[in-house]
Subunit: 169 residues, 2 copies
Amino acid sequence: MITILRIGHRIQRDKRITTHCALVSRAFGADKILIDTLDKKIEETVLSTCKRFGGNFEIKTGIKSKKIIEEWKGTIVHLTMYGEKLDKVVKKIDTKKDILVIVGAEKVPRYIYELADFNISVGNQPHSEVAALAIFLDRVTNGKWINKKFNGKLEIMPCDRGKKVITNE
Amino acid sequence: MITILRIGHRIQRDKRITTHCALVSRAFGADKILIDTLDKKIEETVLSTCKRFGGNFEIKTGIKSKKIIEEWKGTIVHLTMYGEKLDKVVKKIDTKKDILVIVGAEKVPRYIYELADFNISVGNQPHSEVAALAIFLDRVTNGKWINKKFNGKLEIMPCDRGKKVITNE
């Protein structure tokens, strides 16, 4: 199981970036996102997508991130531009264990670097936690996210022009 | 050369998502981003990153997107959750030609679907244009973005704990 832990979420400033993190988590094969700050609006937005497009993705906001990290049984990955190169480290991650992926907004407390089993960089250039998360999940699932079945009410069929959407009742 | 065209940018609502698109473009091997709405603030933010971290990435805002698309000599790719599957289509893209990658915010005018050579989906689930752009650039560059040299004043060295930053004078 893959759980994403979003820390440092500020309701006003980060609403869209954190929503994108949640939707990327769902689409790229994670099972759950935990967000430190209580934010009912973001829960609604993400659950509304799940309701329409399917899957068993979970979201919980207003959690104690330090407690989650300290009590985690499994592997802890922290995504940071300062970390070790993804392609070097990703094969060391035991995907049979539960994985907690920490995604920070701006500055991250020092203890995260210490408690993580792996501090991993998706390139050492500044870019985006949304992109870092997508590329990390792509690599750790070996690209298998693309074949994940969601069995939603709405299903989009790939198509070379325009839009093809199937509504399942 | 790879150019990103961001359309439908709304200064207040999209400032962070569009900034992330620009930084992802730079980090994942694109050469330039064009943004339809004039937005000097976003230009400053992105150029400040370029100044510190290096590279020749360009940004221009306040451009006529339809004109750019109509006059493009090269290949036009439109990223959309409704498009054909990335992994099926990406090998058809001739990377010796200049590529224009269109990234929309919310609804995209119909003519984009018509004028694009390829409408490509990065998974057919709703997620994030930032993630779609990163995965597309990863695939189209064959993962070579990771070795791109930026020769910036600041250089981050991969490291298993903490932060290691080199300042080049």
